[in-house]
C-alpha cells in the first residue's frame, strides 16, 4: 500500500522548447540596437518628433482646396499616364511573356526574354523615371515610358508563369489538327490564360495609378510634382488636399478594377456590377 499515492514522474512536455528561437531573438535584438545606433535613431528623437507631429498635423488640417484647378490638372495627367502606360505595357508584355515561356519556346528565345523581364523588374519605377527624364525631358512622356517598363516586367513575369502552368492536352489537340502556330496560340493557349491575364492587367492598372502619382517627384509628370513642390514650400494644407485626392483616385481605380474582374472572371453583367446583387468582391492580387 505504499506507493499508490506517490506522485508519478512528471510527463515530458508535449511541446519541448528549443534553444534556437531564443538565440535568434537575442541576435535580432542585438542587430536592432546596432542598426539604431548606426542610423542615429534614438528614443529622444522619437519624442521630439512626436511633439513636432502635433504641430505638423495642425498645419495639415483643414485641407486647402483653393488651388483645385492645378490639383485636377495634375490628377488627370496622372490618370492619363497610368492608362497609357498600362495599355503600352500590356501590349508589349504579351509577346515578351510568350517568348519567355519555356514550354512553348526554345531556350535561345526564352533566355533573352527572361533577362529583359528581370532587368525591367529590378528598379523601382521612380528610378527608371529618372533615366527617362534625362532621355525625353521633363513631362508626362517620361512617366509613361517608366511605368511601361515596370508593367512589362511585372505582367511579363506573371504571364510567363501562367503560360507555363497550362495543360498541354489542349495545345496538342489543336496541333494534331495541323493548325499553324498562330492558331495553336489563339485556340490552345490564350483561352487557358485569358482570365488570369485579366487579373494581371487590372492589377497592373491599379499599381500604375499608384506609381503615376509618384513619378512626378523626379519630374516625370502627374500630381507628384505638385505634391513635392507644395511639401518643400511647407504648404502643408495643400499637401493634405493633394493626398486626400490621390487616395480617392486610387480607391476609385480599385473599384473599377474589381468591376472589370467581376465581368471577365465571374461572368457578371452590368446589373450585377452596378446593382445591389453584387457578389463578394474579389480580393486584389497582392504585391507592390
Amino acid at each position: 500500500m505504499a506507493s499508490v499515492h506517490a506522485s508519478p514522474a512528471p510527463p515530458a512536455h508535449p511541446f519541448p522548447s528549443s534553444v534556437w528561437p531564443r538565440v535568434a531573438v537575442v541576435a535580432l535584438a542585438a542587430y536592432v540596437v546596432y542598426a539604431c545606433t548606426r542610423m542615429e535613431i534614438s528614443w529622444e528623437r522619437v519624442l521630439v518628433g512626436l511633439e513636432n507631429a502635433q504641430r505638423f498635423f495642425a498645419r495639415l488640417f483643414p485641407p486647402n482646396f483653393a488651388r483645385h484647378d492645378l490639383l485636377v490638372k495634375g490628377l488627370l495627367e496622372s490618370l492619363e499616364i497610368a492608362i497609357l502606360a498600362s495599355a503600352l505595357g500590356i501590349v508589349l508584355a504579351l509577346p515578351v511573356g510568350l517568348a519567355a515561356a519555356r514550354n512553348l519556346m526554345p531556350p535561345w528565345i526564352t533566355w533573352p526574354a527572361r533577362a529583359l523581364i528581370v532587368m525591367a523588374r529590378s528598379f523601382h519605377p521612380v528610378i527608371v523615371a529618372i533615366l527617362f527624364v534625362k532621355a525625353v525631358g521633363f513631362g508626362a512622356l517620361a512617366g509613361i515610358l517608366a511605368l511601361t517598363v515596370a508593367s512589362v516586367g511585372f505582367i511579363g513575369k506573371l504571364f510567363t508563369e501562367a503560360i507555363e502552368e497550362i495543360s498541354d492536352k489542349q495545345v496538342e489537340a489543336v496541333r494534331a489538327t495541323g493548325a499553324p502556330f498562330a492558331s495553336v496560340l489563339a485556340f490552345g493557349v490564350l483561352p487557358q490564360v485569358f482570365s488570369r491575364f485579366i487579373g494581371f492587367g487590372t492589377y497592373q492598372l491599379d499599381s500604375n495609378l499608384r506609381n503615376s502619382t509618384m513619378v512626378g517627384i523626379v519630374g516625370a509628370g502627374g500630381i507628384g510634382g505638385t505634391l513635392f513642390a507644395a511639401f518643400q514650400r511647407f504648404d502643408y494644407d495643400y499637401v493634405c488636399a493633394i493626398l486626400i485626392s490621390i487616395i480617392l483616385l486610387i480607391m476609385a481605380g480599385e473599384l473599377c478594377a474589381t468591376g472589370v474582374r467581376a465581368i471577365f472572371i465571374d461572368n457578371a453583367t452590368l446589373r450585377d456590377v452596378f446593382g445591389r446583387r453584387r457578389s463578394a468582391p474579389l480580393a486584389p492580387l497582392e504585391d507592390d
Binding site: R38, I41, H124, I127, G139, I144, V218, I263, T269
Partner: protein
C-alpha cells in the same frame, strides 16, 4: 439557334468594358502633353547619358556610397521588423474566427486598407515632416506601408487555420495564450515567415528610392549626384542598387527553400 457561350447581358458588359478602355486610351493619348521636339532629341540624349555615365565612378564607392547602401539595408530590415511587430495584433484583430466581434474586425481592416493605399513615398514625406530628414523617417515609412500588406495576409492565414487543434486545446481547458501559441501559431508559422521574407524583398527595392524625398539611404546619395549632374556617380549608385536587389532576391529564395 447558334450556341453562344455568354448571355446577351454578359456580352454587353464585356463590350462596355472594351468600349470604355478604348475611349480612355484614345482620350488620354489625345490630351496628354507630350512635347515632340523632346522625342526627336531622345537618341542623342540617351547617347549623351551613356557617355557621361562611362566610366563608372568606382572610386567613389568606399567614401560616398557604401554607408548609404548599408543604411538602405538597415532601413529595409528595421522597417520590416517593426511592421511585423505592429502587424501581428492588427492581423489577429482582423481574423474573424479569432475575434468574433465585427466592429473590431472592421476597425482592423480599415487600418490595413489605409496603410496600403498610401504609397511608401507619401509615408516618407509625412515622416520627414514629423521627424525631419533621415533614416528614422525612412524606417517608419517602410514599416507603416508594410503593416497593411503583412497584416492582411497574416489575418487571412489565421482565418484559414484548421479549427480542429484549437477546439481540442479549448476542450482541454487551455487558456487563450496556449490556444494561440500551440493551436494557431504552428499552423500559420510557415505563412508568416514567407510573408515576412516576401515583404523584406519588396522593402529593399522601396527603401532605395525613399532618399529622393529625404528619408535616408542610398536615395539621398542618388539625389545629390543627380542634382550635380554627376552621371558617373549615378551609374555607380544604380549598379549598387541592382547588386543589392539581386543579392536580396537570391538570399530570400535560398532561405525560403532551405529553412521554410
Amino acid at each position: 439557334m447558334e450556341w453562344r457561350r455568354f448571355t446577351g447581358a454578359q456580352r454587353t458588359a464585356r463590350f462596355m468594358v472594351y468600349l470604355v478602355m478604348v475611349a480612355a486610351i484614345v482620350a488620354s493619348a489625345r490630351t496628354v502633353e507630350v512635347i515632340p521636339e523632346f522625342l526627336y532629341d531622345a537618341p542623342e540624349q540617351v547617347g549623351d547619358l551613356f557617355t557621361r555615365m562611362w566610366p563608372v565612378a568606382w572610386a567613389h564607392y568606399p567614401g560616398g556610397v557604401h554607408d548609404a547602401l548599408m543604411e538602405t539595408i538597415h532601413i529595409a530590415a528595421l522597417g520590416t521588423l517593426l511592421a511585423l511587430v505592429l502587424a501581428l495584433p492588427v492581423g489577429v484583430l482582423a481574423a474573424r474566427n479569432l475575434v468574433p466581434f465585427t466592429p473590431l474586425n472592421l476597425l482592423a481592416k480599415l487600418v490595413l486598407v489605409s496603410s496600403r493605399s498610401v504609397n511608401s513615398l507619401v509615408w516618407a514625406l509625412l515622416f520627414v515632416g514629423i521627424f525631419g530628414p533621415g533614416a528614422l523617417a525612412g524606417t517608419l515609412a517602410i514599416a507603416f506601408r508594410s503593416i497593411g500588406f503583412v497584416g492582411k495576409l497574416f489575418g487571412e492565414a489565421l482565418e484559414e487555420a484548421h479549427p480542429g487543434p484549437i477546439e481540442a486545446l479549448a476542450a482541454a481547458g487551455a487558456p487563450w495564450t496556449s490556444r494561440m501559441t500551440y493551436g494557431f501559431w504552428p499552423q500559420v508559422k510557415p505563412a508568416f515567415w514567407s510573408i515576412a521574407l516576401f515583404r523584406f524583398d519588396i522593402n529593399v527595392r522601396e527603401s532605395a528610392v525613399l532618399g529622393l524625398v529625404g528619408a535616408g539611404g542610398i536615395g539621398m546619395a542618388l539625389d545629390a549626384a543627380l542634382n550635380l549632374f554627376q552621371w558617373d556617380r549615378v551609374a555607380l549608385i544604380l549598379v549598387a542598387i541592382l547588386a543589392v536587389v539581386v543579392l536580396t532576391e537570391v538570399a530570400v529564395t535560398f532561405v525560403r527553400q532551405r529553412v521554410l
